[in-house]
Amino acid sequence: MKDLVLEHVHKKFGGVTASNDVNMTVPAGRITGLIGPNGAGKTSLINLITGMLPLTSGHILFGGQDISTEPADRVARSGMGRTFQNIRLQKEASVLANVMVGFHRHEKSSLVSAILGLPSSRREDAMLRQRAMALLEQFDMTDHADSPAGSLAYGHQRKVEMMRALATDPDLILLDEPVAGMNDVEARHLAEIFRRLADQGKAIMLIEHNMRFVQELCDYVYVLDGGRLIAEGLPRDVVADPVVITAYLGVE
């Protein structure tokens, strides 16, 4: 159970301010939404949290630990999983292989046993294969286990990304537009999975443009515009907020 806390997070790209004094809490056991018009700095914020971009100033705390200056792979190993807005998969590799690489941080067999193909390495391999298949089943993807990930429809590719992120067994999952390219039935199925994960004590943060999905699923919502937080609160309050409506639709 780890909370994520952002304190005065600031990021400048030359003259452009991507994040302007952002303060935010993503608590364990909750689903937190991050919305805002295109170019508001949502994806940049995720890149800052996961260590893929360095902060200009401010602090990011994860489970009480300051991770502001940690490199991205260490941040991931501290228990953070993410998906990408522009899907990033090993397109030629099978769905199963794509998911299995997610187990990396939990694999214990030694370097030597991996190089020599010793039984301990092979046992671990077989065990992970089973756990990957269990994930596939949870996401209704069993039929696609051996398909090359790049040959799937986009909605399915997003699911592969989520399974891979879940394979890292994260305390916090950052989902960048998880239901883009999915129909309502699929989206609802995913919503159930996310809710179950939150109930297990994981913190979930999602960026989404599908407002109905955000309203149905999120416990709390932050609204970003021009790198600055312009509103936060319960979903139904936020969507009724005139400031938010102006940000999305412009001034009358």
Partner: protein, 292 residues
């Protein structure tokens, strides 16, 4: 029988070059675009040769020394190279090959200089070569099925993605450099113990091109890619003797054709085709339309 024996030198060449091809393959598999393995082979070859001739050490010791010094220099090479990317990595590794080549040329009292280092007894025969090739392929196969192989693939395909899964990229590539160093050093040593003499230019630009051709033609992902590449490129000039004189020209033409029609190499292209066909048969409705 005579006819089969007549092909033995060719088969030995095939085995030696398989080793070189795998030392190249393993760094490419981990997304490191380095050709430093040719320099590591040179270091292994000279180490084995000098220890054998000067100190009269037995083959297992000299080969082990070749492999270990390859490992050492492979890890040292990874320190600067794992920070570089793509073409910069390639250029820096080419510089390393040149440094090794020049050192072997100018350190005359140790290496024999441009005349090469000769008088090495032929200790490695076909059987020895075959044993080491089989062992090498087994290790590469075992690694590619393990967590290390999965990390290699992730780093090669998309570094940002690999990092998001907690994979330490420099560490992963260092493992690849180390493995490449062991294989390169070992087969450099075998080359020395097989061909009576080594000379600096043997491990130069020509060998780089030949080894690259094997891996590009065969494939850089599947374990069997280098095997197919080496087999084809070594057998081809022999099958039609008149072509043998134009060997390098034919290599060039084949490479151009492969780059155009099968840019991933023969084996990887065939594997990808089969997987797609199977996937289409299994669940045609949910697949995205083929974009050609």
């Amino acid at each position: 029988m005579d006819q089969i024996l007549g092909y033995r030198p060719l088969f030995d060449l095939f085995l030696l070059h398989l080793g070189f091809a795998y030392s190249q393959y393993i760094v490419l598999r981990a997304g490191a675009f380095s050709i430093g393995n040719v320099g590591l082979s040179a270091i292994g070859a000279y180490t084995t040769a000098i220890l054998t001739v000067q100190f009269g050490l037995p083959m297992p010791v000299t080969l082990l020394a070749g492999a270990l010094i390859g490992l050492l220099f492979g890890v040292l090479l990874a320190l600067p190279l794992a920070r570089l990317r793509g073409v910069y990595q390639a250029i820096a590794s080419l510089a390393f090959v040149q440094i090794v080549l020049s050192t072997n040329l100018y350190a005359e009292n140790i290496t024999g200089g441009a005349m090469g280092y000769s008088g090495i007894p032929k200790l490695a025969g076909t059987g020895t070569l075959l044993c080491f090739v089989v062992a090498t392929i087994y290790v590469i196969w075992a690694v590619s099925r393990s967590r290390i192989g999965r990390a290699f693939d992730a780093v090669r395909e998309d570094e940002g993605m690999a990092v998001s899964l907690g994979i330490n990229v420099p560490r992963t590539q260092t493992i690849a450099y180390a493995m490449s160093g062991v294989i390169a050093g070992l087969f450099g040593g075998l080359e020395a113990l097989h061909s009576y003499a080594v000379e600096p230019n043997q491990f130069g630009f020509h060998l780089i091109i030949v080894i690259m051709s094997y891996v590009v033609l065969g494939g850089r992902r599947s374990v069997w890619g280098p095997l197919v590449g080496v087999a084809l490129l070594i057998a081809l000039p022999e099958i039609s003797r008149p072509l043998a004189d134009a060997r390098i020209m034919i290599y060039g033409l084949i490479l151009m054709a492969v780059m155009n029609f099968m840019p991933r190499g023969i084996v990887d292209t065939l594997i990808a085709r089969r997987a797609r066909r199977k996937a289409r048969k299994l669940a045609p409705a949910t697949l995205k339309p083929e974009v050609q």
